[in-house]
Symmetry: C2
Subunit: 361 residues, 2 copies
């Protein structure tokens, strides 16, 4: 994540991982999730926070989820229904489960199918926010497989190349692959120039929005650096930004995501049916293609080549997706996770009102 | 493809599809391919040319392939060896087959496995140039499936984010999905700002290279518009261009491609082992996830939403990946394919020297 999105030093409250995890689980249980479901859901958010992906951790997510449980938009005790199944695939109606609730279950089924048949995929509909895709792809990598995850939640945010009005959401994608000694590859991005959550983060941290990231409400790209506008006052641009700079590539990726998450899952077009759209989870068993031990050695060799590239003028080092996330995780497990004090105040105020013990400091 | 890469009107020679196909097949047979193999290989190039993807048709490809057959870098009569197989996967040693020779065979095996098990994937090593990925993804769409293809050929062309030296190739990716009435989705791109072949096309057509597409030999992005430099005088940039504009997203996509095409196939790191790297072909059976008829209707609805978006100021219409390719194909089947006269002169001179009948005008 760009430095500008990190919590400014003066606003940081460092919280040990086990304390924020316990508080998050307690808040989810207070919203009628079982202990197991609360633990599974909280793990997604806390791992994201540990890995430095705070755009998809508790800071932006938890108060939204609590509101959605409160209004019955989400079901805290869903029953997942298998609507179609083949040897390698499953389609699931998640019964209004939060994405972070059904996601780990769905990805594990994809992994289990891959163990048996070489590949496995699970499509999920009727579910809430997934909190990014990286966590799920990493579940496969942690089990020695290649993992892939996408979600098409949130339509009408992003303007297609040549268009004046938004059609799709930020349609994030992730892939992960294990290595032996080197930190695993974990590529986890929105197919927009910037994730919508990052605009929220920028408002909180006082960061600027770069030219070529967003458009005005006529779909005209804003090419100068500006303060983050309010929700509803901008649209997003796909990866690339403008056509000459390749936005048709980001737009095509987002459309691939839409087709697999929404059409292949049977949900139907996100731009027509609105949110929530579908999620997609896939695993590839390395042993089905090649020797796993050789794969792990080759991954180490590959990733070492990358970090050994001499940096360009003005930069310190070359990194690959997953490297800084791994460094962040090790550091944050030691030092605690740096939250914005405003987030911790929300936790304390929620816990106090709900009568939950919430020991964060 | 951007207008600048099209053959300028004054240099165009329109050739009927059946004539350029016959000449291409004859040249491949002259290089000791069987009639069947020549027909299969030529079909990839001619379909690319019909679809307006002339960067991956006969213009740039054929003379290179002929040279590679001539120097025994390629094997015109390869035996494909299955080095590993599971229910849903296969890994193939292509015995130095040209990519356009083994590719259609490999993709069909992925499709056949998907028919039986829901998904299928084939990884190929020891093979030459694939001529882009779109053709193979479209094979699945033509058979009512979602298709996916990648190739990691050509290392040391593209500079990673923050780096000064190139590591990977242009690592192209494609996905395709069928619709009912609307032209199919066909997303087929390099994970660089611009495919290397396009620099060659630009030299032929006299087009300019946009700022943020390539770097100098110190890895410094060239940010102004320039004439296309000579081969060896530049490196490519990943999708996005600069870090602030999201090149880490293009870099991550390229790395995902490298990991699946080269490490998962057992070939090993492209930046270490050099070319040729691996190819990857995957098919998803729509019926394994949802009702195929509903999928096709949903695809039509989705794609109509996109083309109905009002264009932004200065643009005529909004398109999706695959729409213009479909329009080009219809038009070119009628009018002939517009080749640069220099390409046709090469055909005529090659055919004359080889004693092949080659009736192109």
């Amino acid at each position: 994540m760009l430095e500008r999105f990190k919590v400014p030093e003066k606003d940081r409250v460092y919280v040990p991982e086990d304390r924020i995890r316990a508080a998050t689980e307690a808040i989810l249980r207070h919203n009628r999730l079982t202990s197991d479901s609360a633990a599974i859901s909280a793990d997604v958010l806390i791992k994201n926070d540990l890995r430095g992906v705070e755009s998809h951790g508790v800071s932006n997510g938890l108060r939204r989820y609590v509101a959605e449980y409160g209004s019955n938009k989400l079901n805290p005790t869903p029953e997942f229904k298998v609507t179609r199944e083949s040897k390698t695939t499953m389609t699931i109606d998640a019964d209004k489960a939060l994405g972070i609730h059904v996601g780990p279950w769905a990805m594990q089924h994809a992994i289990d199918k891959a163990k048996e048949f070489g590949m496995g995929a699970v499509a999920v509909t009727n579910s809430g926010h997934l909190a990014g895709c990286g966590y799920y792809a990493m579940m496969a990598a942690d089990q020695g497989m290649i993992g892939h995850c996408m979600t098409a939640g949130g339509s009408h945010q992003t303007v297609p190349t040549f268009g004046s009005k938004p059609v799709m959401g930020t349609n994030p994608i992730a892939w992960a692959a294990p290595a032996r000694e080197m930190p695993p590859f974990l590529f986890d991005v929105a197919t927009t120039q910037v994730a919508n959550n990052k605009i929220g983060l920028a408002r909180r941290t006082g960061a600027k929005i770069e030219g070529g990231w967003i458009t005005d409400l006529e779909g005209e790209p804003i090419m100068q650096e500006i303060d983050p506008p309010d929700t509803g006052d901008y649209y997003l641009l796909h990866i690339g930004g403008t056509r000459e700079n390749g936005s048709h590539k980001g737009f095509g990726l987002a459309l691939m995501n839409e087709i697999i998450c929404n059409e292949l899952s049977g949900y139907g077009p996100g731009p027509v049916n609105g949110t929530p759209g579908g999620h997609f989870f896939q695993a590839y068993d390395i042993e089905a293609f090649t020797d796993r031990e050789k794969f792990l050695d080759d991954m180490d060799d590959l990733l070492k080549v990358i970090v050994d590239v001499p940096p360009a003028r003005g930069f310190d080092r070359v990194i690959y997706a997953g490297l800084m996330e791994d460094e962040d995780e090790k550091k944050r497990l030691e030092e605690g996770i740096p939250y914005h004090r405003e987030v911790i105040e929300w936790f304390e105020s929620y816990c106090s009102e709900a009568g939950i013990t919430c020991d964060l400091r």
